[in-house]
Symmetry: C2
Subunit: 352 residues, 2 copies
Amino acid sequence: MSKQNNFRRYNPLIDEWVIVAVNRINRPWQGAKTEKSTTISTSSNTEQSILNPLAPGGTRSSGIANENYVSTYVFDNDFPSFTEFEECAGKDENDDLFKQHEVKGVCKVICYHPNSQLTLATMDVKEVRVVIDIWNQQYLELGPKYEWVQIFENRGAVVGCSNMHPHGQLWASNYLPTLPMKKHESQKKHFEKHGKVMLMDYLEQETLKKERIIMRNEHWTWLVPYWAFWPYETMLLPNRHVERFTDLGEVEKQSLSEILRSLLIKYDNVFECSFPYMMGWSGAPTGSFLTENCSFWQLHLSFFPPLLRSATVPKFLAGYEVFAEKQRDLSPEIAAKTLSEIDEEHYSKKLQ
Amino acid sequence: MSKQNNFRRYNPLIDEWVIVAVNRINRPWQGAKTEKSTTISTSSNTEQSILNPLAPGGTRSSGIANENYVSTYVFDNDFPSFTEFEECAGKDENDDLFKQHEVKGVCKVICYHPNSQLTLATMDVKEVRVVIDIWNQQYLELGPKYEWVQIFENRGAVVGCSNMHPHGQLWASNYLPTLPMKKHESQKKHFEKHGKVMLMDYLEQETLKKERIIMRNEHWTWLVPYWAFWPYETMLLPNRHVERFTDLGEVEKQSLSEILRSLLIKYDNVFECSFPYMMGWSGAPTGSFLTENCSFWQLHLSFFPPLLRSATVPKFLAGYEVFAEKQRDLSPEIAAKTLSEIDEEHYSKKLQ
Ligand SMILES: [Zn+2]
Ligand SMILES: [Zn+2]
């Protein structure tokens, strides 16, 4: 890997940026044809550490060995898109048609648990809570330094992650990326126009309409957004106004661990498989935004699962959707109804 | 299938619409795990017509049989996202947070050739020219009636099309979809600011820079956009200002058939496979836009191939990309260099 930072370029036709991570081209590729998500068959911890580069003591493709961790474990991504080197692999350009800027930051992997056979859905509430605390700690540590800290998880080969060890990622950057920038602007505009926080306003109306709400507890509501794109796309919202993850109280975090585990069990039960998904947190930006007014932001957790009809048939983002407009077949209301009615006990327990 | 039109909904967080095609949920699913693209092994025309629902005389999943066509063949999609029924499956809503509109239109399939074993890359120039004339005829026929006529092709199981019979699609709608709308606005803005057509201005600068131009003839230039996202994303541009496909002259269409075939051969040669791609035309909108000034538009043909390292390893759009910002690993300049240097003779001819 070259010792230079990557850069991003601007697409003036559709007003989006794209990161050009020339650093990463030589990284080993572990993925993944589209295949049924499976958990690794029962094996001892010793076998695991040989087989799985994310397990305690496991050796990663970079040759670095993991600590013998017993709870969560955070390490720097061996092939990061964001780095903090002195130089950049590309020069800044500022023309309207040729716009390119250096990107800096850090990319980490967050292992949720030492046991490769567990998932957030099959870990117990106490273990999920530990993951939530790790997320909080990362936001506290990286927020002051970076404009945007993206915590996310790709689960399953069908979304490009073939290692089923329970883990997510964190990418923190010295700039506000395309999508959070859009969310920043739209929430700001909504507040200026209506004097209300967009997603609070939205949650209030959904609470009355009822038809897209799947599950709620005292502090959180899980729903299918009216505008959902992915077949079983959902959003988890705090019931009160919360700008950032780090604004959550202890009780809210405890409550989050409960509803997060419950909703992931429901997901697994849809097709009786370890449901593949992309999951990501969004809240008010950090870094220089910490001293700005971001009160129009509402924290939310998005789930984008690609499966539509079975454990092996993913939704393709193709053709008309990449040239003109996205499309979904299943209505958001039917998706909400399916998820509402599905069992709250994990299917694997019933098979025993 | 219900006899009701579909609708689209607005996502106020990221300013995008999504089509909710509740009509389509019951369509038969022919796709596709990620697999190496293959052509059907040699078989007689009779066998083909039994095996392949897109071949002459073939029976489609709807039970409808194709004509015994000998050149190109256009038919209405049996499970269309756009229809022209009397009623809509959803009521119009116009709230800022709950915005939903009926969509109307037509979806067609365009078979390029009766022979299931050919592709645009392996057809001869005369046969490619016939496809171009069919595209032109469709634009002429549907343009006056619809605001946007999207001609596109998904090629290969990896982009969701498992039927290798040479074919593309056309979706025409009574509204301007999300991405063409963005292109409309950005090109307009560029013209207002610079007094130049954005993509003409861009082509002029790329012609001087040279490093992303792959191939050109008298009327067309094939290049990797500075802001390309897909690993081998490219764009084909007319050398002069052309607003719409139907503005192309006879000589330009002849020239297009030549360069289109040549560039697709290069694509196939990258990994010595029938290269999967999404291909789509964009030009000034039609319908009510035909009487408006759209002179800031430049016609272009985009190619979004998902392969990165081999015939079986696709790029995933996942994780960070769906929550924050798109990323590519290969630089646009290296992609351009690879495509420039690759052979112009189809690999299948060399294997013989
Ligand atoms: Zn992973
Ligand atoms: Zn197809």
